[in-house]
C-alpha cells in the first residue's frame, strides 16, 4: 500500500458534477455495454432477422398460397409484418437496456446505491439509464430498418418517420417498464414472470402477425393496451399507407405519450424512496 497525498476536498467541481450527473451514468452504462457489443448486435439483429425470414417469408408463403397472392390489407405478408417486427425490435432493445440495469443496480450488484454516494441523484440515475437505452434503440432500429429495406419490406421514404415512431414507442414502453422494475424488491422470479405474462403476450396478441381484429374480441383488449400495437399501427400507416383516421392517429400518439409520462412519473419517486430509504 503506497501512500496517498492530497488536499482534502479540492478535487471536485461541485456544479459540474451536479450538472452532468445523468450523462455520467449514461457514460458508465455505455462503457459496460461496449463490452457486449458483439453479442448485442448478434442478438439485436439475429433474432429479428430470424423472425423476418421464418415468419415473413415462411408463413408468408403459406398466407400467399391461401389468399391467392392477395396478402393482407392488399400488401404482401412480408410488408404486413415488417412494421410489427420493427416495433418489436425497438421495444426489446430499449426495454432490455432499462430493465436489466435497473435490476442489477438495485438488486444484483446494488451499484445504484454506490452511485448515490456520489453527487449523483436518484433522478439522474433514472435519466442516465433512459439515455443509454435510447442510444441502444437508435442503433438497433437503424440497423433493422436497413435490413427491412434490403428485403424490400418497407419503402425507403418511410424509413425516417418509422424510425421516429418506433423509437418513441420503445422509449415510452421502457419508461413504463422501468417504473415496474424499480418496484421489484429482490425477487428474480417475478422478473421472469413479467417476461412471460406481460412481454410475451404483448408480442403475441398485439396484431403483430395478423390483423388484430382477427382475434376473438375477448383477446383484442391485450392489443389495445399494448404499446406494441399502437407502434405497429403507426408503422403500418407510415410504411404502406394502411388507412387510419385522424382520430386514430391522434389516439395512438397520445396513448404512447401517456405511457411515457406515466412511466417516468411513476419511476422517479420510487427511485428516490428506494435509494434514500
Amino acid at each position: 500500500m503506497s501512500d496517498l497525498k492530497f488536499k482534502p476536498g479540492q478535487a471536485v467541481d461541485v456544479a459540474r458534477a451536479m450538472r452532468w450527473g445523468a450523462w455520467a451514468v449514461a457514460e458508465y452504462r455505455l462503457f459496460s455495454m461496449s463490452k457486449w457489443m458483439g453479442s448485442m448486435f448478434a442478438f439485436g439483429l439475429g433474432n429479428p432477422v430470424i423472425y423476418l425470414i421464418s415468419i415473413g417469408l415462411g408463413i408468408g408463403a403459406l398466407v400467399d398460397i391461401n389468399t391467392g397472392g392477395q396478402g393482407i390489407n392488399g400488401v404482401s405478408y412480408l410488408q404486413f409484418v415488417a412494421p410489427a417486427l420493427l416495433a418489436t425490435t425497438a421495444i426489446n432493445a430499449v426495454m432490455e437496456e432499462v430493465t436489466f440495469p435497473t435490476m442489477q443496480g438495485f438488486v444484483w450488484d446494488k451499484m445504484f446505491f454506490a452511485m448515490n454516494n456520489t453527487p449523483i441523484t436518484p433522478k439522474q440515475i433514472a435519466n442516465g439509464i433512459m439515455i443509454t437505452a435510447t442510444v441502444r434503440g437508435v442503433f438497433n432500429v437503424l440497423l433493422y430498418e436497413l435490413i427491412l429495406w434490403l428485403f424490400g419490406a418497407v419503402p425507403v421514404t418511410s424509413l425516417l418517420p418509422m424510425f421516429i415512431t418506433s423509437l418513441f414507442a420503445a422509449v415510452a414502453f421502457a419508461a413504463a417498464m422501468m417504473s415496474v422494475t424499480v418496484r421489484l424488491e429482490n425477487d428474480d422470479a417475478l422478473f421472469a414472470i413479467i417476461g412471460r405474462f406481460v412481454i410475451s403476450p404483448m408480442f403475441l396478441f398485439s396484431g403483430t402477425f395478423y390483423p388484430l381484429d382477427q382475434m376473438p374480441i375477448y383477446l383484442q383488449w391485450i392489443g389495445w393496451i399494448s404499446p406494441m400495437w399502437h407502434s405497429t399501427q403507426l408503422g403500418r400507416f407510415l410504411s404502406y399507407g394502411m388507412p387510419l383516421e385522424t382520430w386514430q392517429l391522434v389516439m395512438h400518439i397520445s396513448f404512447l405519450s401517456a405511457v411515457f409520462v406515466i412511466g417516468i412519473l411513476a419511476a422517479y419517486p420510487k427511485f428516490e424512496s428506494r435509494l434514500q430509504k
Binding site: S2, L4, P8, G9, A11, A17, Y28, F31, T118, T121
Partner: protein, 308 residues
C-alpha cells in the same frame, strides 16, 4: 463554514415501525477520527447512511459539512468518501474500471482520473490486479478496492463502515497506518467497527451504540477508565463449572462477569487477585491476566459481548 463536520441532534431513523436509530446526539470536528462501536443491529450502518447524505432521517437535526443533507445532498456528497459495509462494486467491470467510472460520477476529468486511478491501485496494492474483473478478486482485495474507490474524489471526510472485515492481519495494520496518514493530511474519519483494537488504534473519540441509542461516549482511554477496572483476569473452569465458582470469586474482585465459557474478574491488580483465587483452592483450567479493553466497557454497558 464551521469546523464541525457533523452535528447530530436527536437524530432518529424509523423503518416502518421499527426504530433503528433512536435520538442520538454527537458532533464530529474537522480532522478528528470518530468511531461508532456496537453489536450487530445497533444502528451503526443506518447512522452512517444518514451521514452519507443518502438515507433520509426520520427525525431530529443533522448537519453535514455545515449543510442540511435533505436539501444539499449532492453538494455534500461531492466532498465525502464512502466505503459501505457491503462493497457494492460493479462485478462486471475490471478493478481499474470500477475506480474510473466512480470518479466520473464526481464529474472528475479523464485527465485527472488517469493518474489518480493508478495511484489508488497502488494504495490498495492492486496494481497487478488492475485488469481483473471484480468477480475474480478475493474478498479482501474487493474490500481494498472499495476503500480505494472511496478516496477517488479526495474527500474532506471519509466514512468507513467496518473497513477491515475480511482483511488479513497484515493488511489491517497497513490500512490503519494509511488511514492515520490521511488523517494527518486533514481528512476527517468516521469509522464503524466491531473490533476493539481497531477502535483503540484509530479513534480519537467514539460512541458506543446499542439498540439505536448511545450508551457512552469519550476517548478509548476515558471509556476504559470510566467503565472498567485497570486489569482483568480471565479464568476458565470448564464448561458448566464456571457458575459454581462465581459467588466465591465475586468476593475477591471489584466486579465479575460470568460468560458461558469463562469468568472475567475485574480488579486493579490482576496477578494478586489470581493468586488469591488459587489460594482459595479454586484451580482454573486456564487463566490469563490482561489489560482492560473496550470489550470490557462494552460488556459492562450492554451485558453482551461484541461479536455474538
Amino acid at each position: 463554514m464551521t469546523s464541525d463536520m457533523i452535528v447530530a441532534k436527536d437524530l432518529k431513523k424509523v423503518y416502518g415501525d421499527f426504530v433503528a436509530v433512536d435520538g442520538i446526539n454527537f458532533t464530529v470536528k474537522q480532522g478528528e477520527s470518530f468511531g461508532l462501536l456496537g453489536p450487530n443491529g445497533a444502528g451503526k450502518s443506518t447512522t452512517m447512511k444518514m451521514i452519507s447524505s443518502v438515507s433520509k432521517r426520520t427525525g431530529g437535526e443533522l448537519t453535514i459539512l455545515g449543510k442540511d443533507p435533505d436539501k444539499f445532498g449532492p453538494e455534500i456528497r461531492a466532498h465525502l468518501g464512502v466505503v459501505p459495509q457491503k462493497d457494492m462494486l460493479d462485478r462486471e467491470l475490471k478493478a481499474w474500471e470500477n475506480l474510473y467510472t466512480y470518479g466520473r460520477y464526481f464529474g472528475l476529468s479523464r485527465k485527472f482520473l488517469k493518474p489518480k486511478v493508478e495511484e489508488l491501485l497502488a494504495f490498495a496494492q492492486l496494481e497487478e490486479k488492475r485488469n481483473e474483473k471484480v468477480e475474480e478478486l478475493s474478498g479482501g482485495m474487493q474490500r481494498r478496492l472499495a476503500i480505494a474507490r472511496g478516496l477517488v474524489n479526495e474527500p474532506e471526510m471519509l466514512l468507513l463502515d467496518e473497513p477491515t472485515t475480511g482483511l488479513d492481519p497484515q493488511a489491517r495494520h497497513i490500512l490503519w497506518d494509511r488511514l492515520f496518514r490521511l488523517k494527518e493530511q486533514g481528512v476527517t474519519l468516521v469509522i464503524t467497527t466491531h473490533y476493539m483494537d481497531e477502535a483503540e488504534q484509530l479513534c480519537d473519540r467514539l460512541i458506543v451504540m446499542d439498540k439505536g441509542k448511545i450508551m457512552a461516549d469519550g476517548s478509548p482511554t476515558e471509556l476504559i477508565k470510566k467503565y472498567s477496572s485497570k486489569e482483568v483476569v480471565e479464568v476458565r473452569f470448564g464448561t458448566d463449572k464456571n457458575e459454581q465458582f462465581a459467588d466465591e470469586i465475586k468476593k475477591l474482585a471489584d466486579r465479575i462477569e460470568v460468560l458461558p465459557d469463562r469468568i472475567l474478574v475485574y480488579t486493579a491488580h490482576g496477578e494478586q487477585t489470581l493468586e488469591a483465587i488459587v489460594a482459595k483452592g479454586m484451580n482454573p483450567v486456564t487463566s490469563l491476566v490482561r489489560r482492560s479493553s473496550l470489550e470490557d466497557v462494552f460488556l459492562r454497558l450492554t451485558g453482551r459481548t461484541l461479536v455474538d
